[in-house]
Amino acid sequence: MAYVATRGGERAIEQSQRLFRAEMGAITPERVAELRRALPYLIDRVMGEASLYDEDLAALALAQTGGELYEAILLLRAWRTTQPRLAVAAPVTQESLFTHRRISAAFKDIPGGQVLGPTLDYAHRILATEVLEGATSRPEPVEPADRPAPAQQPSVAAWQAANGLLSAPRADSTTGNDIPDVTREPLLFPAPRAHSLQSLARAETGGVLALGYAAQRGYGQAHPTVNELRLAEADLRVTHPRGTVFSAGRVKVSQAEVVSKKGSALGLGFAATLGWNEVKVIAAATLDLNAKGAPKGSATEEEFFLYHTEGVESSGFCIHFKLPHYVTFQSSLDAMRDARAGAAGAAPSKQAEPAE
């Protein structure tokens, strides 16, 4: 690999960064707070892909990069490395989630029933152009029910297992730092399931959607039906120095199960992520459902989708192609000219290059 060092561009580089930042103007605490307040779903998406949950940091990263998502996530992943890991929380279970939204496309009468929660699924998509003419668009207030929904909801998969439709999952005694962790170990294939699910949790939404959609359209082996989709809050359960386990706060999480008939039984795919991002978890669960036995190099093969949905690596590789490649490209040109000269029966000639 031959790269050429660039020299003499220091001022241009400095000015180019100023030009980028000039478009955004001053970054103030008020701007960060407004971004956090006004764009919760974008904040969630950024936190999930950064694999770092803090709304203020995500809003700051968006403000600092002008909404250039790949840069924002790179900033957060880089900042994360400056922080010590203080603990690994107790594993979150589905049944313990403080649930805001829980639906199933497979069964209409699931135990506990279905709550739509916050969604635009059944909304008319009409742009509020009156706002651009000076009006204020205010949402109609929710009319709360007389009684509250149950905070916790039972698992649809557990109910299916009890009815012989699914195999009950095995118990996993792995906890704490013994859980495989792609931030501390290389991703190798075949990947441990913990690596695969963690990689999907932090994957880039668009990439996961593209490959999940390919599987859903027929480039996979199984067509998914959403068994259960949840948007919820999970307790961060940590341990006090004297041994008391307590919740240090709640974080928003999304999780999806998709189901498909596999032979005489049902197969289940699963995915979850930090923040509320249901497109990502449905697409990711579809990839999980299709991964077993997928042909090498197909969109649903684990190595293919895990490598190609890692947003920081893929965007970094993509944009590196715009950086100076003068020597490698000149080498290609030389090889091309030699080939042409050889084909014409003439001896290769030395040509002066513009850069020389």
Partner: protein
């Protein structure tokens, strides 16, 4: 001799810590500051931000895997042979310290009635918030029909 560890009359240690971790930061700081007067010789062992990894259990195969890390602030303080601890989401170091002060006060048996009242009040506020949230969620309950 191991010192006796105090408790609240109306709340378990886990509930107290959970309420403090979620309590309004401004109210928590305002409540905790006067507690310092009864904690002479207090030693600050940690007051920092850091990350807590959050694992989840997959419902398809039962595997534990990491969802991602959560930013927290942590405080560990000590006085008269006992420690007080605080950990809360976010980067508010003062709020984590305030939580640790309440924990230490209770452990040492100092200002216990006031701490108990504060936890009772904050627990009620949090329960009311959850109740209101869940009433709004219940309003979206849907009974699907097939034709």
């Amino acid at each position: 001799m191991t010192p006796t560890i105090g408790t609240l009359p109306d709340h378990g240690h886990d509930q107290m810590l959970g309420v403090l971790a979620r309590a309004d930061a401004a109210r928590l700081k305002a409540f905790a500051e006067p507690l310092i007067a009864a904690l002479e010789g207090i030693e600050v062992r940690e007051n920092r931000t850091g990350l807590v990894m959050l694992p989840m259990r997959d419902t398809a195969e039962g595997t534990h895997f990491h969802l991602g890390e959560v930013l927290v602030s942590e405080a560990l303080i000590a006085c008269d042979g006992l420690e007080g601890y605080g950990m809360r989401r976010g980067r508010d170091l003062e709020a984590a310290m305030a939580m640790a002060l309440v924990d230490l006060s209770v452990a040492l048996g100092r200002n216990v009635p006031a701490c108990n009242d504060f936890i009772t009040s904050e627990a009620a506020i949090q329960a009311a918030e959850d109740h209101e949230t869940l009433r709004r969620v219940e309003a979206t309950r849907v009974e699907m029909e097939t034709f």
